[in-house]
């Protein structure tokens, strides 16, 4: 069942990326881990047209943006582009523990939820809840 759920995971922190990927894979999800927004958008667009599109995306916020500069809104920019490509697509954003306003901004732009990094155990439950909704 979970193997059928395809997750796009984007974070430039390779250790975090691999760690979350392992947790999701262990929980049974099909995960594509990407460490930059440009590659992530390309992959998303490519698979959107295929017969195995992504079911959900998990994005970090603070990453190099499409111009390659570190930007605290890079994740938000990617979020907007994903939703342009596929309106209503479920996205979870990863935030630091106290970035309340940025997290709310993500939700205003259409993210389904935001998640504080470093507590990935709860992330599995959140992904499941969103997929089932």
């Amino acid at each position: 069942m979970k193997e059928d759920v395809k997750v796009l995971l984007v974070d430039d922190e390779k250790l975090v990326l691999r760690s979350i990927e392992k947790s999701l894979v262990r929980a049974g999800f099909d995960v594509e881990a990407v460490d930059d927004v440009t590659a992530a958008l390309a992959l998303f667009k490519e698979t959107a047209a295929s017969d195995a599109p992504f079911d959900i995306a998990i994005l970090d916020l603070n990453m190099p943006n499409f111009e390659g500069y570190v930007d605290p809104t890079a994740g938000l920019q990617l979020l907007s582009k994903l939703l342009e490509t596929q309106p209503g697509f479920p996205v979870i954003v990863l935030t630091a523990f106290d970035e309340v306003e940025r997290a709310k901004d993500a939700v205003r732009r259409g993210a389904r939820a935001y998640f504080v990094k470093g507590r990935e155990a709860d992330l599995i439950a959140l992904v499941e809840r969103i997929i089932q909704a």
Binding site: L15, V16, R18, K22, A96, F97, Y114, F115, G118
Partner: protein
């Protein structure tokens, strides 16, 4: 006496008179003139005695200024004087401005019998006049009876008139010399003042300036001693900052100081803002006899004045009696004024340097804090996966088969150690990042924020005591950040009192004014063991802790950083009764609420779920004034029909229940979409929990009508 003898005698007298006149007119020193005169008269005329009297300043007495021989010297030494207009020959001559002759002195009624001149048988007294004014008289005496005739008067009076002119000349000369000397002295003093000014104004180092100044003054004026006093911070004491020589060094080392307005010359010169002179210091009532300066016989104290401000005083002292005159004040004060300006400049420079040093310290602190924050953020991010990896390893270890239980146990223990270390790193990151992020200041009720914080921390109501001053203004703060600062201090208080039988935390909210700023101050005190004086300064440094390894020592530094970000301040002190008190100063809100109740929704039915506290009373009152109906409940258990309300407002922090429970009830009743949750401190995870119920929004608590309008429109 026949005609020829008479003519001969007159010729001899005229000759003698001319000789006397010639001899005396060129003498410019008065004393020399007078002494030479009496000698020449006696020699030329062959008189027994001659003496010159001059009137004193009062004009009432004729004082003997020169007399012939030993008799004359003895009389001068005695201060021999005769009353003008009195019974003596001199008295009568000066009184009437007329020459008198006594041919047999025993028969002359106005003659004063003089024991030093027992042989006198004839005397002539000749007035000395300058114009119409009598300036003295000349006495000439002979051992012969009837030695003088009326005719002699003309000749001798001519000589006396010449003498009077010579006396006037000598006096004018003396006066001219005095004026010249005075002008020279004044010029010298002004030159010395200019010297001091030139030398001191180029010295900008205060200590160097003070010490060089006293040397420069002493060298320029030739004074025995000079010292510079500056007022202390209280302006009640003048403290000796530099003094000439060993005496000065000893007094500075002793901390020599004099009370402003006290009995000393310095004290009174500063208080009265004008120079004081003591010419013989033994006579001067206000002089402070100084054992270090036993030779001082004259002292001048000059105030150091810059604009309206007296900054101290300078003392100059001389070994000579009457070394200073009133006329010296102006030149010495000119010097003191230059000195005051130089001192003021040096003071300003020092203040500027201190301000610059403070700026450098602050900037350095900020740079270090920023660098530390960046570094720890980076490290913290790297540590984030550790805990999750540990979690996965735990599962893997648990599922291992065929491994000895002992080894599994050891592996589990290692994983616990790794996880604990990773959590500490993440905790450090969150403490240090916390204050820097998303700072949104707004007017806030400090009482509400600190009470909410204590409640969220689960501090038992009996362990914490609140005292809130009435009519407190709002303060300007980001309440999420401020709540974090309160949490750190309250956590400290909790830990400080955890081993006590009767732990007690006192929270006092008050208004204070400091340096024209108004602050709402929150004093959080505990009855714990307190911090040693030696450690008191260190508690604000990152990673410093007095509580052992389980503490990262970051709470108070983070608190300091938060309060600085709020333009406030934080102080720690020991309580006299034991324990610590932390004072958190937040600037009072001075603005006005721009939106009144008129901008609020009107005619709406509100359900307010909150404790009965200062915030709920504010909301209730504001909404009611705006023609709304407000139903205020402390939990939602008794609410039967959520549909009866247009808007539901829930405080995240509730005393009797958890807001999540309330939201569950609301969501179940299908009223979540019209529900707004407010919180004095908002965290992402909590917000996520709250939003999960589908509420309209989770917002920072508003504390002004304007803020309430904004939240309800959101």
């Amino acid at each position: 006496m026949d005609e020829s003898k008479l003519a001969e005698r007159r010729a001899a007298l005229l000759h003698a008179g001319a000789l006397v006149s010639r001899s005396i007119t060129s003498i410019l020193d008065l004393d020399t003139l007078l002494h030479r005169t009496v000698d020449i008269i006696c020699i030329a005329f062959d008189f027994y005695y001659a003496g010159v009297f001059l009137l004193d300043e009062t004009g009432e007495w004729a004082v003997l200024r020169a007399g012939r021989g030993e008799a004359g010297a003895a009389l001068v030494a005695e201060g021999h004087k005769l009353q003008v207009g009195g019974r003596s020959m001199i008295g009568a001559a000066t009184g009437r401005n007329k020459a008198l002759i006594a041919l047999d002195v025993g028969n002359e009624p106005v003659h004063f019998k003089n024991q030093y001149l027992p042989l006198t048988r004839s005397e002539m007294a000749l007035p000395l006049s300058a114009g119409d004014r009598v300036i003295g008289a000349l006495t000439v005496q002979s051992v012969e009876e009837a030695a003088f005739s009326e005719d002699d008067i003309t000749v001798l009076q001519g000589m006396a008139d010449q003498l009077a002119v010579a006396i006037q000349n000598a006096r004018l000369y003396a006066e001219n010399m005095r004026l010249l000397e005075q002008a020279t002295r004044r010029a010298r003093l002004l030159m010395a003042a200019a010297d001091v000014g030139k030398n001191v104004t180029s010295i900008l180092d205060l200590d160097e300036l003070l010490h060089k100044t006293v040397d420069i003054i002493c060298d320029a004026y030739g004074f025995y001693y000079a010292g510079v006093f500056l007022l202390d911070e209280t302006a009640e004491w003048a403290v000796l900052r530099a003094g000439r020589g060993e005496a000065g060094a000893a007094m500075v080392a002793e901390g020599h100081k004099l009370r402003v307005g006290g009995q000393s010359m310095i004290g009174s010169a500063i208080a009265q803002r004008h120079a004081r002179i003591a010419l013989d210091v033994g006579e001067e009532a206000v002089f402070f006899k100084n054992p270090h300066l036993p030779m001082t016989r004259s002292e001048m104290a000059l105030p150091l004045v810059v604009g309206e401000e007296v900054i101290g005083a300078v003392t100059v002292q001389s070994e000579q009696e009457a070394a200073f005159s009133d006329e010296d004040i102006s030149s010495l004060q000119a010097m003191a004024d230059q000195l005051a300006v130089a001192l003021h400049n040096a003071h300003l420079l020092r203040a500027l340097e201190a301000a610059h040093a403070e700026l450098v310290r602050t900037k350095t602190f900020e740079a270090v804090a920023t660098a530390t924050t960046e570094a720890i953020h980076w490290i913290g991010n790297k540590a984030l996966p550790i805990t999750v990896s540990v979690q996965r390893l735990r599962e893997d270890v648990a599922s291992l088969s065929g491994v000895e239980a002992e080894i599994v146990e050891s592996m589990q223990e290692d994983l616990t150690l790794i996880e604990a270390s990773a959590r500490l790193i993440i905790l450090v990151k969150e403490h240090l990042i916390g204050p820097a992020r998303e700072y949104i200041p707004a007017p806030a009720m400090i009482e509400d924020v600190v009470k909410d914080t204590a409640q969220v921390m689960g501090i038992a109501p009996e362990a914490i005591h609140f005292t809130v001053a009435p009519n407190l203004p709002l303060a300007v703060a980001d309440t999420t950040q401020l709540s974090r600062a309160f949490r750190y201090v309250l956590q400290n208080a909790l830990e400080a009192t955890e081993d006590l039988l009767t732990p007690r935390i006192d929270v006092e909210v008050d208004l204070v004014e400091e340096k024209e700023m108004r602050y709402v101050v929150t004093r959080i005190g505990d009855n714990g063991p307190g911090v040693n004086d030696a450690d008191l300064d260190k508690i604000w440094a990152s990673f410093y802790t007095t509580r052992g390894a389980k503490h990262a020592g970051l709470g108070l530094p983070a608190c300091l950083q938060i309060l600085r970000q709020l333009d406030g301040k934080v102080r720690a002190r020991r309580r006299p009764e034991g324990g610590m008190v932390f004072e958190l100063y937040v600037p009072a809100y001075i603005g006005q609420a721009t939106h009144g109740p008129a901008d609020l929704p009107a005619g709406k039915r509100f359900l307010l779920v909150d404790d009965d506290d200062v915030w709920s009373r504010f909301v209730e009152q504001t909404l009611t004034e705006g023609q709304n109906t407000v139903t205020h409940v402390v939990d939602a258990a008794a609410v039967e029909d959520f549909a009866a309300f247009d808007i539901i407002v829930v405080d995240d922090v509730l005393a009797t229940t958890d807001s999540l429970t309330v939201l569950q009830q609301i969501a179940r009743a299908g009223a979540a979409a019209k529900t707004v949750v407010v919180a004095s401190s908002v965290r992402v995870e909590r917000m996520m929990d709250l939003l999960r119920f589908g509420v309209r929004d989770v917002l920072p608590k508003p504390y002004t009508p304007a803020g309430l309008v904004e939240r309800l429109r959101a």
